[in-house]
Amino acid sequence: MTGPTGTEPTVAHPDLPEIGILIIGGGIVGSCLAGFLAKEGLDVAVVDSGWAGGTTANAGSLHVQMQSIFLQRFPHLVHRLEASLGLYKSAAAYWSDFQKELGADCEVKVNGGLMIAENQEQLDFLAKKAKREAELGLEVDVLDRASLDRIAPYLGPAVIGAELCAHEGKVNPLLANKAIRAWGKTHGAVRLAEERVLQLTADKAGFRATTARGQIKAGKVVLAAGYESMALAAQLGVHVPTRADPLHMNITEGTAPFITHLVQHANRPITLKQLGSGQAVIGGGWPAELGAPGRIPVVKLSSMVGNLSLAQHIIPQLSPLRVIRTWAGINTGVDGCGVIGAAPSVSGLYFAIPGDAGYTLGPLTARLAADCIQGRAPGEDISSCDPDRFTAI
């Protein structure tokens, strides 16, 4: 056996020489999947290149309606997004069940999400979008200002109407990640942090994943590494075109709760919500810089100014709050749908990549991936997420 550079011999990993199922990526999907499989009594471990809860950050929005930013950026993929809308709806609802499974309060709230409009053109766009979403089975409504005054009086005078999607909500990712980790541990999931998989090979005997500390032999491998799944899959000759979208996030100090919905904009990037701590989390599509591999992505001043200027413009009451921290998280995009299930050409290789709203889709994606690994029929239609849909390398 040889190491990552192809010359030096590779030693067995001191803590994990061999495992039945190796999950690469310990973010929301990998952590949940490790818990599900461990609970079923399987021999499973998850490795992450960084830290607990995933190396890249998340913000805890539960997205269901089609995000205007996606529609603007990827008009050619709208049909794909439409194909996975049902999964979004199920995934957001599943968070409530999953919270029960975890036995911890993760502040899962499904109060609905508002996508606001500042002018008639935006409102017309929302009306058209809502019509299509209703056809696809979502519970949506377009509200005028008078209706908004009743359910969202915190919206400023710039807002003339909004689309309300009843399935949307939020979850506190800090609490959820902590609970998921504890739950997985209870069921015996092994977890290794700061273990970047440098080389992944497969032969008849199974898989070998090499980290800086040694080689892990695995019977099966699940790629749950978000945007980094593409490079890992390529090592096995499988093509999965994941895309990294580094995004800007802001968080304020705490105040009395007053923003009850997940708030978005019909024409500009913003996602805004308030956590149980009273802190407003403001983000939603302003870009960050990816930075060097293995380094945290870097925030941009232009994103910070634009994002916060927009936030106070639509919710003026936020104006006196102070921002205490910003960070960048990496969203993983594919083609509007996730990638879930067995790889077409490599036996024992599975994917668990949730697609554009990773945190929303995370627990459900993990559950569906677990079904595929166990050879059960998944409880949802995941034909849109078939790993076989991409051209082979």
Binding site: A52, A158, R268, S302, G306, Q312, Q317, S319, P320, I324
Partner: protein, 563 residues
């Protein structure tokens, strides 16, 4: 103009001095409880310099204003801040704007910090012909060492020699045409020529050709039972109340910690009329072995040694408890009951108890290196002083091109070292910009000055050498993260169970997630995590640098018209 300003606090009519901080005015009126935390505990002024976020009050409906940084200039309605108070109604926001709408200034040199080092660098660069802007968060220049008397009145004691030396430095800078911008909070450093600030509520960008970071230091947090109680503040906070606003922090005061500042402040407060119950010093009493250090100090800076002896003689009737630390502060009927024991060996001498109304804690300083870290400037850990120090060349250039730094933000050296390095940095900046270099004899002379001051500092540290408490003065229920009220036992539970990274510790406990952005708990947690991993502290055990480096109001980011 009248030197008195009326204001109200929680509906009570009060009067303060024009130009003093709200914190000083409230202390002068006998109020110590400024705000209530999430758990309903009272907090008061702690750092006194805009760092700790513990003195937050509501001013004319505007929440979370730092009382120590808000100047009393007009009649205002002040309310104690209560965590979770509903935000005021705001009828309309600012129009939506983008970064290109933000006015940008391009001085040749931007100096951040108008303390001794920043002013000295600005003067040297300006003398060499550079266009220099100095940005400072405080209402007046001078920094901590040269903070000026900012109030007038018959009952206001006149400035002393240290004030006057600072005033001359400020006047020199202004006379030369250095543009000093106060109330300018530089909260973001996105690149050496991409800085962002708010100035009196308006956002500003700077794209200087060269950046000089001289952001000073803040006092190290040493958790001890009761250190979050009102009436407990840093020694520096007490000094600011007295030196800038001529307010005493209390009537009967115990000062504890490590280093010469405690003795100076004890002496100043005593001169101001306070009763000093005692000074508790971690270091052992200077004995024969200290003579070598003292004589080296006397040779290097005789005036500073004279000052030190003067402070000490002013305290001749004050108990000085050496080799000891405060081990507990508890509320009592008339103020605070304070326990003092020998440290590190608690059993060595008996425990003493002091009844006071005010406790000052001064355990030395941590460099304010947030901007340097944000820019990626290289740092190394100095285990003796327990802090990260910037890697600099002999002209104060950092590892990042076009970024210079000096003074206490690069690792502690004191005001004299900052003044000297300021000149060297200012000359280097100007020369690197193509202006005339300084006469070589002046540079040589300055290097000799610098090494003399460094010898003085080294001897001073020897004199005050002492074991450095981390959380060993704390009990399991003592708060480590003041903002999020995270206790020692919560931290230790995570450390014990999971071999966590600093990020894990933060996410698991919320330590470091509050308004002071981890400034007080961060250095402690870094050392604890490093120890649990069995490695020396390096960048991997520090909180990742995050913008903004100080909390910034959303309205101020969005308000981009010229004032």
């Amino acid at each position: 103009m009248s030197d008195r300003v009326p204001f109200t606090f929680d509906g009570v009519s009060l009067e303060g001095r024009y130009g003093e901080s709200l914190a000083a005015a409230l202390m002068g009126a006998g109020y110590t409880d400024f705000r209530q935390t999430r758990t309903g505990h009272a907090r008061s002024i702690f750092c006194g310099m805009g760092v700790c976020q513990d003195c937050l009050v509501n001013v004319d409906g505007k929440p979370n204003q730092r009382a120590c940084m808000t100047k009393l200039e007009k009649s205002v309605s002040v309310e104690s801040e209560i965590f979770g108070r509903p935000l005021p109604a705001v009828a309309e926001g600012q129009p939506f704007k983008l970064i290109d709408d933000v006015p940008e200034e391009s001085p040749e040199v931007l100096v951040i910090g108008a303390g001794p080092g920043g002013l000295s660098a600005a003067i040297a660069a300006r003398r060499s012909g550079a266009r220099v802007v100095v940005a400072d968060e405080r209402p007046a220049p001078g920094g901590q060492y040269f903070k000026q008397v900012l109030v007038d009145g018959r009952d206001v004691a006149p400035p002393d020699r240290q004030h006057l030396e600072g005033r001359r430095l400020i006047e020199t800078a202004l006379k030369l045409g250095v543009e000093i911008r106060n109330n300018m909070d530089v909260w973001g450093a996105f690149g050496p020529n991409d800085l962002v600030a708010t100035e009196a509520g308006f956002i500003r960008r700077f794209s200087p050709q060269r950046l000089v970071v001289a952001t000073g230091a803040y006092e190290r947090g040493v958790p001890v039972p009761g250190w979050t109680l009102p009436g407990v503040m840093t020694t520096g906070a007490a000094q600011t109340l007295w030196r800038s606003y001529r307010r005493l922090p209390g009537a009967r005061i115990l000062i504890a910690g490590n280093g010469p500042l405690n003795m100076q402040v004890a002496s100043e407060l005593k001169d101001g009329g306070a009763e000093i119950a005692g000074v508790v010093e971690l270091a052992e009493m200077p004995l024969l072995k200290s003579i070598s250090a003292l004589s080296r100090m006397a040779a290097a800076a005789p005036r500073l040694v004279r000052d030190g002896l003067r402070y000490r003689s002013r305290l001749s009737d004050v108990p000085i408890v050496y080799g000891s630390a405060i081990t507990r502060i508890a509320p009592s009927e008339n103020g605070l009951t304070v326990q003092v024991s020998s440290y590190p060996d608690a059993g060595k001498t008996g425990t003493r108890t002091f009844e006071v109304d005010t406790v000052c804690l001064g355990y030395g300083f941590q460099p304010s290196n947030e901007i340097l870290r944000a820019l990626g400037c290289e740092h190394v850990f100095d285990s003796q002083r327990g802090q990260f120090v910037a890697v600099l060349d002999d002209k104060c250039r950092t590892s990042v091109e076009n970024v210079y730094s000096l003074g206490d933000c690069t690792g502690l050296g004191g005001a004299r070292v900052a003044l000297s390095n300021g000149r060297i940095a200012g000359w280097a900046v100007a020369e690197d910009l193509g202006h005339a270099p300084p006469p070589s004899n002046e540079l040589d002379q300055e290097r000799r000055n610098l090494s003399r001051h460094q010898r003085f500092q080294a001897a001073l540290w020897e004199l005050y050498a002492a074991p450095r408490p981390k959380i060993d003065l704390a009990s399991p229920d003592t708060i480590v993260c003041r903002c999020e009220e995270v206790t020692v036992s919560q931290i230790q539970d995570v450390l014990k169970s999971e071999n966590p990274s600093i990020g894990d510790l933060k996410r698991a406990t919320r330590a470091g997630m509050g308004s002071c952005q981890g400034r007080y708990c961060g250095p402690i947690l870094s050392e604890l995590v490093a120890a649990s991993k069995g490695q020396p502290p390096d960048d991997s055990v520090r909180f990742a640098p995050r913008m903004p480096v100080k909390p910034v109001c959303i309205a101020d980011i969005a308000r981009i018209a010229k004032p």
